[in-house]
């Protein structure tokens, strides 16, 4: 049995503008998606059930619900499914918060209820205020049970997940136990997630996204449900985050958040706001739309279908293609503490600090490391202070690359940089064995660019230089906003099949810059297979924990791994204005060079 998951249509300006789901384009958009689904699965009726997890309209524009219905009806029709094969649940944008605040629970949801009533798979087994349980027999005669939940229930008019009482949680859990046979598959659908992968921490609109979007009550409920369904397939679908992730805690329990199918690609920036609601910045937003297809079986295969809008943000009409990809399952350990009962999963165990894992970093050449550390010591070019590593992290150490790699005077034969280039060439050609015709070298900032361009001459690969400014964030945009991405596209097109990207930088501290670059490139290269990522640095403290995403890199190597450069959370340090000013001009000027 296959389930198609869509979420977050966010219908706004449906009569025109930059939404693929607008009236004038949604049919073509969905038809191309369905064609891709048929092409992927090569079956007459590949989909058995559609699950749509909320935010059908944007910002309570309830007048768009009829169009949302048209969209679902058209999709179901193309898939050969009746309206009863679609499960929906409410999202926060579908809710009238003012009425909710007044305690008018049903009225607050009336627009959504009117929309959703056509998508009920036969009579529900249970129909309560905040959940429904359905049994569905698919056309392939498979039976599946669905728990559809209202995760906004009892939000008290605030734009955050609702809070269920313990009694309500136990009531719902009991309803599941009584109505869903233990050996049957269960689908849980709700808008707000109750399971989050910390590697997609949604650094978009809000600083404290987790507090405002993580549905703790859902998690408490799931903990209880799972106790009775240890060996039964349970798949939970979420929306809200607009970013995909897929996690499994074991072979039977899976969690999927799918990216949004809607959205306005012609306005690709979210306004980041401070506590007062003032816009303090613009955050780049993905130009992709996506849906997922999940096979509910022992193997639980996941396929993601993405639509990448290729046009510039100035275009009025979209231009893109759907692509499909099978996802790799990521297993997540449920408990950090061996003393705790595995079935008791507390949210705190899931939301972990981002620097949580040791990434293996390979040392290239002991002699160069010795030279690097020796020169740092001789020239006294390691400074202990407070240096920004990313928006959340601070590095306590800083090495002057300039003085490490340059000669101080004509007679100073500092061969560290030529040695680094030579060894890098050898590492690429003999250890990584990369095909130079199909790789791109990304040089980050000055020294990454210098090394990348010199390696390129030696091996004939193509280098592109990026600057990382503003706390590790590349400016990402079309045209002059970031000419390097335009150049990167040209280089990719000239190569044809890109198999590898090697990112070269001076220091890897938190790893944020590396993982950010790789993530941006992956989004940028939506079409076609994703290249393999490797990284190379001059210095990388091997004992420093780093961003978990770096584990996806095929290889990370460095020329100096034994130099400690501690990285801490900003939150663990005193505010910057407590410390005396860093600039002290007079001791530096007038200092005689050694």
């Amino acid at each position: 049995m296959k389930v198609l998951h869509i979420t977050d249509l966010h219908l706004h300006q449906i009569d025109g503008g930059g939404e693929n789901l607008r009236k004038g384009f949604f049919r073509q958009f969905l038809d191309e998606l369905v064609d891709k689904i048929f092409e992927q699965f090569e079956e007459e009726n590949p989909i058995d059930l559609v699950v749509a997890t909320g935010d059908f309209v944007n910002k309570a524009l309830f007048e768009n619900f009829p169009h949302a219905k048209s969209i679902l009806v058209h999709l179901l029709d193309r898939l050969g499914l009746p309206e009863s094969s679609c499960i929906t649940c409410i999202g926060n944008h579908d809710l009238n918060f003012e009425l909710e605040k007044e305690g008018k629970i049903d009225e607050a949801r009336q627009a959504y209820t009117d929309f959703a009533k056509d998508f009920v798979p036969d009579a529900p087994l249970m129909d309560e205020e905040f959940f429904q349980i359905y049994r569905k027999t698919t056309r392939s005669d498979e039976e599946v049970f669905i728990l559809s939940m209202d995760s906004t229930y009892n939000c008290q008019g605030n734009n955050v997940p609702g809070v269920l009482s313990q009694g309500e949680i136990e009531f719902c859990a009991n309803a599941v136990y009584e109505n869903v046979p233990r050996d049957s598959a269960l689908i849980i659908a709700c808008h707000y997630p109750f399971f989050i992968s910390e590697q997609v921490m949604f650094p978009l609109e809000e600083d404290d996204w987790v507090s405002n979007h993580f549905w703790k009550s859902g998690r408490d409920l799931w903990n209880i449900i799972r106790k009775g369904r240890q060996k039964s397939i349970t798949i939970s679908f979420f929306g809200d985050g607009h970013q995909p992730f897929y996690l499994s805690v074991d072979n039977n329990h899976h969690f999927l958040m799918t990216g949004m199918i809607g959205g306005n690609y012609s306005e690709p920036f979210w306004n980041k706001r401070d506590a007062d609601g003032d816009v303090i910045g613009k955050i780049p937003y993905s130009k992709t739309n996506e849906i997922r297809v999940v096979s509910v079986s022992d193997t639980t295969e996941i396929y993601t279908f993405k639509f990448v809008n290729k046009g510039s943000f100035k275009l009025k009409s979209s231009n893109g293609v759907w692509s499909s990809k099978q996802e790799t399952k990521k297993n997540y350990s449920v408990s950090n503490s061996p003393q705790k009962d595995d079935s008791e999963i507390q949210p705190e165990q899931v939301i972990e600090p981002s620097l949580q894992t040791h990434i293996e970093i390979r040392l290239i050449g002991h002699e160069i490391q010795r030279q690097i550390i020796s020169r740092i010591r001789e020239r006294k070019i390691y400074t202990l202070n407070r240096y920004t590593a990313s928006s959340e992290k601070v590095s306590l150490g800083w090495v002057s690359m300039n003085r490490l790699l340059s000669n101080d005077k004509h007679s100073d034969k500092n061969l560290i940089l030529p040695g680094i280039i030579d060894k890098s060439v050898k590492w690429i050609m003999e250890d990584l064995k990369l095909n130079v015709e199909s790789i791109i070298l990304i040089g980050i900032d000055f020294w990454g660019s210098i090394i990348a361009s010199n390696i390129a001459v030696r091996i004939g690969a193509r280098p592109v230089c990026f600057t990382m400014r503003k706390e590790g964030r590349i400016m990402l945009g079309a045209g002059s906003a970031n000419p390097e991405f335009g150049l990167f596209r040209k280089v990719v097109d000239s190569i044809g099949t890109l198999t590898d990207v090697l990112i070269i930088t001076d220091v890897i501290s938190s790893g944020y810059a590396l993982s950010n670059v790789a993530a941006k490139i992956r989004v940028f290269l939506e079409e076609g297979p994703s290249p393999r990522f490797s990284a190379l640095s001059i210095i990388a403290d091997k004992n420093q924990k780093r961003e978990k995403d770096l584990a996806e890199f095929a290889e990370i190597a460095s020329f100096c791994t034994d130099l400690p450069i501690p990285v801490l959370d900003k939150a663990d340090l005193p505010e910057e204005d407590i410390l005396p000013p860093k600039i002290s001009h007079s001791p530096s000027i007038g200092k005689v060079m050694s």
Partner: protein, 338 residues
Amino acid sequence: MRPEELIINTNNFILAKLIGINWKSNGLASPFMVLNDAGTLLTTILTKIEPEKPLIIDCKHVINEVDRSLESFFSAIHNTNRPVIFVNHDGLAPKIDTYTSEFCNGLEYRKPPNSNVIIIGSPPGTIQFEKLESKISDLVASEVKNYIARSFIKNENDEFALLPSTPMQSNGVFNAGIIIANPKWFYWTCIALFELLVTKLSETGFNTLGSQKKVKLLSVSLRASPFASVVSFLSGFPLEIIDQLGPKHKIFDIHTLEDIQSETNTEYLYFGDYTAGGTEIKIAKTYASVSGAGLSKAFVLGSLHHPKVFIDYFDLYPLARLKQLGCGVEYRFFDIGE
């Protein structure tokens, strides 16, 4: 890089730069010495690239060969009977003579008067040896100007947009990243910049030997730094990089300030990509003066204006004048209207 990217191809001959061959083969630790890999690469060029044309090898700045690295090359000259012309061969002349007599018996060997040239074999009479050195310089300059012209990206719909660092508008931008992204272009541009540096320092009597002054190259932009790094190794002058000194960003990064040393005996040579109003160079000059150093010469890929515009501030040496490239670039003053 493929061997054919290491030569400039003309109707009458192909040109290779030996210092570049050394760089490509063995890196920048010893570009002035011919090592085994360079000899092998030269042999490949001799035997496989445009074999019907004479091969000219500019040996400028190369001082020696070790370990009989050129043995296979001279043996191949004999086997292929391809004419080879060595230019600026001072450092290698004894080795060329020795290998020629050892491996190239029967082939013509001559040194035309009034030229710094050794000819092995019988090239066609179309090559004027007396002017070959300047011809080579012109050839490289022309090739690199072509790359610079192709690094110009026109704005959409030919719109004019404000330049980042100067109050002028242009219908496009020059992006040195395009040159860097093409190893062949980067290679030849670095060589051209290096030779421009050497030539101008020599012409202006810039003498560092016996002088108390230190000379350092200074680069303040991301896209200029790769070029500057290569020129640093080829020239032997140390390189200093200042992060984010361009006029669009904050002038001094905190680490830059902390890292300033006294440089009262230093003369900086600025290396940049493109300049219009010279703002970035002037800021670099200010930085130099903060530490007591001087900055009197600036080397760039391209300049909008004639160097004499900046004569009161510094000597500007561009590889190309941007408006003369024929790439369609246009400039106009920024008009804010009434």
